[in-house]
Amino acid sequence: MSFPLLTATAALPAIGAIATAAVPAARRTAAKWLALLVSLATLALAIIVLVRFDPDGARYQLTESHAWIADFGVRYELGVDGIGVALLALTALLIPFIILAGWHDADPLETGSKRWRPTQGFFALILAVEAMVIISFEATDVFLFYIFFEAMLIPMYFLIGGFGDRAHAGSDEKAAAQRSYAAVKFLLYNLVGGLIMLAAVIGLYVVAGNFSLQEIAEARANGSLDMATNTERWLFLGFFFAFAVKAPLWPLHTWLPNAMGEATAPVAVLITAVVDKVGTFAMLRFCLQLFPEASKWATPAILVLAVISIIYGALLAVGQRDIKRLVAYASISHFGFIIMGIFAMTSQGQSGATLYMVNHGISTAALMLVAGFLISRRGSRLIADYGGVQKVAPVLAGTFLIGGLATLSLPGLAPFVSEFLVLVGTFARYPVIGIIATFGIVLAALYTLVLYQRTMTGPVKPEVSAMPDLRARELLVVAPLVVLLIFLGVYPKPVTDIVNPAVKSTMSDVHKKDPKPEVEAAK
Amino acid sequence: MNPVNYLYLAALLFTIGATGVLIRRNAIVVFMCIELMLNACNLAFVAFSRMHGNLDGQIIAFFTMVVAAAEVVVGLAIIVSLFRSRHSASVDDASLMKL
């Protein structure tokens, strides 16, 4: 029985959350530092996991398995494959930045009772989310996964609803109403998805008799467990629906703009860069492995939805007046790419999708956090309220531009690699879909550059004329992300090496081979 | 004569009682209707007991009476207290809580 590394990685932030919540009201700053240190420690653990993980080793590594609820056929089973490790690392990496970026977002405005501790709550909740996300990346037991997939909604819900944007901080009733609307919408949307998945989970148990991903996948593979076609399809749909809501896939996306618009920038990043990844990750891990046939059956429909997401999200991003909502719709477009890559059922597509999850996390974080800094300076989310910022705050503008260029996946920055892989992977099997999706890159350029032009260039608006440039803390948040974007853009090998084997085995799960090129290289 | 007829009677009484509960306003009367229903049950018990030729039914009838008596005790207490505080025994007046 070796040291339970994976459990520790998840448990550390959980404990940290409790500890942070327990910090007395007066010692606000202490809570912040505690949270930051915990997240850094988690990052350290994640790195250890990364190091201990052997890409060419067994499919699931660092596994742990303990009896839990025998009665439900549930075991406490953890294990990571390449995909899981990559996303785990991403999560652990982003949280410190999120915490650092949200340093002042939760300083109490109005004095409630002396026991009211928003700051502690804020950081505790972030850590709680981290713990749950991490464990859902590690879980190889469907039920275990489901539990945290659902449970993470609650802290997220409080983060969205409880800690509004400083843009409309204070007692502005309307803002408060919008905020709780967004929070409720987020929760109900995902809860409905989750509950429908619950039905499917139960169904899976009735069919399979246990929840162990490996066992079921094995049994499916060697045919000892055969589902009736319709059963499999229903179960698949049950699972997929929940993931599609979380991801989010058109037309189940409308909660995201509200949530990201109303939440503070760091929380918005938490939603789109971390939590939503669980959805796409789960498609790759659970939908494809548990229901390969049904997945193939549903592929055309899903691809169409994905393409719609890509174009639709981009077009709506163009039409937004609100910076954060714009980023939200951009994310919808990007999630379209990810899902398309997953269901293209080619190695390039799936590797690309996984890479995309990581890159999108980083790029959105960069863009959104800078946007957050911008918004916190001017106290408005409306694009129209800005102009000429580039002149007064060049560094801010520069980082914002880089974030934007990453969002439009400029070659040389990380997202390009993944986006191109997804496109090429899709094109290889579904040329038309691939070509339509390619229009997305033009639209991406459109909304990004329009955003940049309207906010950063042109004559300096009087309201922004006194705007300070990025402060040290903020620079500390953005700079590493930018570096990472460039590094992974020119040298993504470290990630792909981890991901490829996992993708290969996923491909074999769905019994799919890559299409051969028309003209064989004469070797 | 055929004990089945007693059953019909019992059913009839029961229905009358139930109808009374549904249409009468005065709590006391409603309550009496319920008693009527209970007694209809008793009649049924006795009749069945006669048909099966065992005594269970008759014994049950006695239990029922006792229970009915107990209900009377509790019920009247409640109804009276309601009446005293509202000066009305109409069940329709007692409708503070709704929706």
Partner: protein, 549 residues
């Protein structure tokens, strides 16, 4: 009928009965019930003889001791194997001592104990004339607002009768799920109903509503029990016996001794079906299933909150226990007749409860409707008609009862000038004022909503799983849909507590005595334990999942 027949009847009746062998009572196996009943009677005596000042303490002492002793007895019996191997019928076939009975009795006793704590709480209301007061009327007999009431309050009267009443109710509830013949069933029903009727009428504040609740509960309750009784009569007529075992045999036609009278009644299925339906209806009334639910909101709202909590928890447990036994022991042969009907009932109950709850504005009514919805979920498990179904229901009941009592206990804490502030608008911003209470209540709400890592989720999962395995997949789908709807209004309350600005004239949160604290604490503990590590209790429920015939 012919004269001969009449004569024969007379003669048989007139025959001197040679000897009646004295009934054999297994006191040991009945001890839990007997202890409670005994304590209840002692309680009555206490009321009669102990000076008023010290009654409260005496009663509290007696009740606590009795409940603990009874629980100990239950545990002893269970560990002695009566839950599994030695399970049997006691008291001349009147009472079954088996797994479900003991499990539910244990649950009821614990619920009763926790409920008792909330009954005994006297720190919440401000002291009047230097006397600590609890949530019950100083003198139930005195007209609200009258001089006599004022006098009673001044004199510091308290209705300590609530304790014996509670005990009587508990006793009835103990028998109810264990009853092994219809007569016992009926008697037990009345034994626990009547005290509850009274308890509902005893609120200290808002007495008019309290009395109204009592009247409604009483009239409708006895109306329902009249139906039950008639149903019993019909079943008796059908099977010529009220003993579960015999009826079951007659129903599935495995009976050995058939006399001519039985032959022609047996042939008459109408008796059986109508009778069964009516009995089931009586039980559905008690669990508050649609369309027999309409008393629930009014009574829950009007009754003193501690009573509501106790009632909501324990009554459900007892009633579902009885329902299970009836359907699994008496009417298994009739499964194909009652299952579809129960399906319908379960569906309308789940949806109806959830939907109507959305627009409620009073926290107690809200919880009432949520309890209706939960009744629907449990019914889904009942319908499974598998051993899993039984154990899942048992588990659900155990989980649910503590959450409920805890939730209502929290409700008692939030007060303003007019007593408990039950209108939702008053709960706005509670999270800002007293985060801890709000957080605890949020935990309960999440458990109600069935969010993972709470007992609510484990229970819901168990029940739905059983239902799915029992071939009731559509029920599961309806179930998840209605829990989605239900989630909405639980969330609404949370939003209200945490995200809306506190009202300046908002309510205060009273600091309770250790009694209520224990009640709430137990609630939270059970909620989390059953949510995170339910295995042990599931095992218990599984062992307890078999009925004795």
């Amino acid at each position: 009928m012919s004269a001969v027949a009449v004569h024969s009847l007379w003669t048989t009746a007139a025959d001197p009965i040679s000897k009646i062998d004295a009934p054999k009572i297994e006191y040991g196996q009945l001890s839990p019930t007997l202890i409670i009943l005994g304590a209840a009677i002692i309680g009555v005596l206490v009321e009669a003889f102990v000076p008023r000042k010290s009654r409260y303490y005496a009663q509290l002492f007696v009740s606590v001791v009795a409940l603990c002793a009874a629980f100990a007895a239950v545990v002893a019996l269970a560990s002695d194997g009566y839950a599994t191997t030695k399970a049997g019928i006691a008291a001349m076939g009147a009472i079954a001592v088996d797994g479900p009975a003991l499990f539910l009795q244990g649950t009821i006793l614990l619920a009763g104990l926790v409920g008792l704590f909330t009954f005994a709480e006297r720190r919440l209301d401000p002291e009047t004339h230097g006397n600590r007061v609890d949530s019950f009327a100083a003198q139930a007999a005195s007209v609200p607002g009258s001089d006599s009431e004022k006098a009673a309050v001044k004199a510091g009267f308290t209705t300590t009768e609530v304790f014996p009443l509670l005990l009587f109710a508990v006793a009835g509830m103990l028998i109810f799920p264990a009853a092994n013949d219809l007569l016992t069933l009926f008697v037990a029903l009345e034994v626990f109903s009547l005290p509850l009727y009274l308890l509902c009428a005893l609120a200290r504040r808002k007495r008019l509503m309290s009395q109204e609740a009592a009247v409604k509960y009483f009239l409708l309750g006895s109306f329902a029990s009249a139906f039950t009784l008639f149903g019993i009569a019909l079943l008796y007529g059908y099977a010529g016996s009220v003993s579960y075992g015999t009826i079951a045999k007659v129903v599935d036609g495995t009976i050995t001794t058939v006399d001519p009278a039985l032959v022609d009644t047996m042939g008459n299925d109408a008796l059986l079906l109508i009778g069964a339906a009516m009995i089931v209806m009586g039980l559905l009334f008690k669990v508050g299933a649609v369309p027999f639910h309409m008393w629930t909101p009014d009574v829950y709202q009007g009754a003193p909150t501690p009573v509501t909590g106790f009632m909501a928890a324990a009554t459900k447990v007892a009633a579902f226990g009885a329902l299970l036994r009836l359907l699994y022991v008496v009417l298994p042969g009739l499964r194909w007749d009652w299952r579809p009907v129960m399906w319908a009932v379960a569906i309308v109950t789940m949806l109806g409860g959830a939907i109507v709850a959305i627009t409620q504005t009073d926290i107690k009514r809200l919880l009432a409707y949520s309890s209706i919805a939960h009744a629907g979920f449990i019914l889904a498990g009942v319908i499974a008609t598998t051993p899993d179904g039984v154990s899942s229901v048992l588990f659900y009941l155990a989980a649910y009862s503590f959450v409920t009592i805890g939730a209502f206990a929290v409700v008692t804490l939030v007060r303003d000038a007019g007593g408990e502030a039950t209108h939702l608008s008053k709960w706005a911003g509670l999270g800002r004022r007293s985060p801890l209470v709000a957080a605890v209540f949020a935990v309960f709400l999440l458990a109600f909503a069935g969010i993972p890592l709470t007992s609510g989720f484990a229970g819901k999962f168990a029940v739905f799983k059983a239902a799915a395995e029992g071939g009731a997949a559509p029920l599961v789908v309806v179930g998840v849909i209605s829990s989605a709807i239900a989630a909405f209004f639980y969330i609404r309350v949370i939003v209200l507590m945490f995200f809306s600005e506190p009202r300046p004239e908002g309510p205060t949160v009273a600091v309770p005595s250790p009694l209520t604290m224990t009640a709430i604490g137990v609630g939270v503990a059970v909620t989390l334990v059953l949510g995170v590590a339910p295995q042990y209790f599931l095992d218990l429920a599984n062992q307890a999942g078999v009925f004795v015939r």
